[in-house]
Point group: C3
Chain length 265, copies 3
Amino acid sequence: MDRVITLITDFGTTDGYVGAIKGVILGIAPQARLVDVSHAIDHGRLRQASFVLESILPFYPAGTIHLVVVDPGVGSSRRPIVVASGGALLVGPDNGAFEPVYGRGDDFRCWEIAEKKYQLAEVSRSFHGRDIFAPAAAYLALGIEPQMFGPPVEDPVRQTGARKKIISHDGIVGSVIHADHFGNLITDITAQEIGMLAASRRKLAVSLCGKTIQGVSEYYAQAKKGKLLALIGSTGRLEVAANLDSALETLGGSALDAEVTITKV
Amino acid sequence: MDRVITLITDFGTTDGYVGAIKGVILGIAPQARLVDVSHAIDHGRLRQASFVLESILPFYPAGTIHLVVVDPGVGSSRRPIVVASGGALLVGPDNGAFEPVYGRGDDFRCWEIAEKKYQLAEVSRSFHGRDIFAPAAAYLALGIEPQMFGPPVEDPVRQTGARKKIISHDGIVGSVIHADHFGNLITDITAQEIGMLAASRRKLAVSLCGKTIQGVSEYYAQAKKGKLLALIGSTGRLEVAANLDSALETLGGSALDAEVTITKV
Amino acid sequence: MDRVITLITDFGTTDGYVGAIKGVILGIAPQARLVDVSHAIDHGRLRQASFVLESILPFYPAGTIHLVVVDPGVGSSRRPIVVASGGALLVGPDNGAFEPVYGRGDDFRCWEIAEKKYQLAEVSRSFHGRDIFAPAAAYLALGIEPQMFGPPVEDPVRQTGARKKIISHDGIVGSVIHADHFGNLITDITAQEIGMLAASRRKLAVSLCGKTIQGVSEYYAQAKKGKLLALIGSTGRLEVAANLDSALETLGGSALDAEVTITKV
């Protein structure tokens, strides 16, 4: 069976970085199926990489290898790792990008990529995506077990959120964690948490950046063009959007890290 | 034979939307060959999606499945559909994006995607690309016939142009319908129509935005660097370009919807 | 064995140009493995295309076909060519984009693509990427030998650098040749040349745009956030970067073509 290798990076596509990674993989594992997910992660923005990873993980078949290379610390002492969890294998630097896997409470196991024979013969100090992570993903696709790469890692680096979520009987105070391509603002408040707060989504109000939105809608076109609305987005999180417009532009750049409150009315 | 599935969306690649669609397809149809065409359609701009679809359709092998998800009405009552025409299968929302197929006068057949067993178990209200269209494309790739998805649709939504084209003995009045990556302005006037107007392309003048271009050239480098020229572009349509420069920038943003006149001189 | 075809173009992905090329290839060679390297080369910027090609070439398996279509002269008299070198096959216009292959001193052979039966039936004057180069790449993937396409070319067009590099006992005067996605400035000065200049990289100074950087570092994170540093980049060339920031923005747009001096201190 041809193994799927997905790619999430901040390398962009104006250079040959992604092309070199793909070449290394196909040189080692010619039958691997390469899937571009994103090369447009903002430079070094781990939280964005984690969010993208989280939003695709449940939809890939068992055995998929996810290569996540957002690596501002390349060449320093940060470890290269492989993580196995729920049928997926994750490859990348140990910098917290795999938080969606660590944080969901499932079992996971982690190993350092130390064994030189699974790396390129010459390893640069500035491009481990090509020299260490691409070969590791390719050898995993060939069926090499992750424990062959190196010793277990018991304490992978965790990613800490900007602000702690507060859940009470009357409401939830959370944060915007991501602005998507359309300017939709995605929060850390989940559909489950909202379900426990109120039976009817219409009897809720969502506030951020000094604006209040009445009710949680079902879909974008329920608001008039350009009007703000709140809804449960496709990743099961509370989202603030503007129909056929950008909520991020409507609310301004500070919305990117804004506090979001949802309360009963 | 591994079926080809092409992807045209307005999802961009800074998020996991496209990655989730690809994962769903590969989970159902592991042998499908995914081909990225464009994820850079402007938000909700159906005319652009249609133009991109039109420009690739003739070049794909029979049996290709084209997934076109530009879906501002997601979650509302607009229907999900499959269209079969000329050996190709098209999957997406019923919002007029498939106009190039409806408009070319060929036979086409259309069905609603209603059968739940060909959708994800949980269907969100905001991401049918992942939950309805990706599984439909994957099941088509497995050989499921489109009539298995639901009832026939006799009246798919049509896309209407901004302005009606006027063809006379002396000239043609048409419109710019697309500005491409290079700033070339592509019109709704075809090479055939121009051929019927005059035997020699040198005895024609093209006017738009208050500028007149003498003659219809053969290729870009026939004009000096930065100079406007008219030519028959690669999709068989009259195109206004600037050699090694952007005609859109040269003429300004109003050129995007400009009236274009071609007359005998 | 399924042949790999990589794609380097300046077509962007807002249109159907790249999609049409992929369709033509898959129509002729259904088993070819298409690999997107870059469609974001600046319009007509051959030097960038060459740099991207150079940075991926060593990492692809033997037999890989590289399609490089940056073609401002499309439709004029410039020749379409195939080049064979070191196990790789290159397809594109004869405009100097293949300089990395010509310049490395290896053997290479070159043929004109003249034979009509390996082109689309109708060849436009403005899109040879689709009508000539895509079919040529596909027929190569099917095993057609490059000499079947047309006569040998003895004098392919060479690309000349902006400025001649000066190497002396005390230092090297070179140029910035590329700014990458991160704003790192890559020069034409190689690690080998620096090795011959001084045994210790710490006893060197790098100057450009009126700034001087002491020492050549090992990796980005050795400098403080936002601070300029010099290092040997992943393609074996001297690079000027700013840790977690853009050296191009720090130094201004003139850095793109700047003279770079490295001297002993």
